[in-house]
């Protein structure tokens, strides 16, 4: 697309991805969690794919890798939910309102966020080719 749009998006896309990852990691302290954080990172990838065209985006974010990442993330979510009593014993390591106050909810937020990110990016990249 245009030169102005490409230059602006090259400067702003890393901040969108960083904001989404921060919301994903602090899901047990502030409102947010897996779904809003994953949606924000997918928006960052989608804005890169729209500005630079479908062919060049496919070289950077391949669809096969995203599909395999999705499968891995859903396995992690399933295992942590089924065996969550073992993960819960690590909660409250360094205090009550800190980052490590709940390992179980933080790990599940990260895994669920990777899952949502993978699904949304896959749908955007596939429907962009039509």
């Amino acid at each position: 697309m245009d030169v102005i749009i490409r230059t602006v998006i090259k400067g702003i896309a890393p901040f969108i991805i960083l904001m989404g990852v921060a919301i994903m990691f602090h899901g047990h302290l502030t409102p947010g969690g897996s779904f809003p954080g994953g949606a924000m990172v997918a928006s960052g990838f989608a804005i890169i794919a729209v500005a630079f065209g479908a062919d060049e985006a496919e070289g950077k974010i391949s669809e096969k890798a995203v599909h395999m990442l999705e499968g891995l993330a859903i396995l992690v979510v399933a295992y942590v939910i089924l065996f969550e009593t073992f993960v819960r014993s690590y909660s409250g390591l360094f205090g009550l309102f800190g980052l490590w106050s709940s390992v179980e909810v933080m790990a599940l937020n990260v895994a669920g966020g990777i899952m949502v990110l993978g699904a949304l990016t896959l749908v955007v990249l596939l429907l962009l080719k039509e």
């Binding site: 899901g27 047990h28 939910i81 937020n109 949502v116």
Partner: protein
């Protein structure tokens, strides 16, 4: 659309409007003393999981199997879109 069909559509839409504001805004659904499960989650959420966000504790700990089912639905939808728009994963060597 003809005239009698338009009148019927308008009457149905007005009926939806009246039923929704009449039934769901009444004190039957909005009284706080009847909500026992929500009060239990509010009081015991912090010491059961250790997370300050009660909504995250509900979604991932108290009702974790619902979230597991929702992730399965998301994976199935992404696989369905992949199957419809077509992509060759396996290259056959000849």
């Amino acid at each position: 659309m003809k005239a009698p069909e338009k009148v019927l559509l308008a009457a149905c839409l007005i009926a939806i409007f009246v039923v929704i504001t009449g039934v769901f805004a009444s004190p039957l659904f909005m009284k706080w003393e009847n909500k026992k499960v929500a009060r239990y989650y509010n009081e015991n959420g912090l010491e059961a999981t250790g997370s300050s966000n009660i909504v995250s504790a509900i979604v991932w700990d108290f009702r974790g199997f619902d979230t597991m089912g929702e992730e399965t639905v998301l994976f199935a939808a992404a696989a369905g879109v992949l199957a419809i728009t077509g992509l060759n994963f396996v290259r056959r060597k000849k």
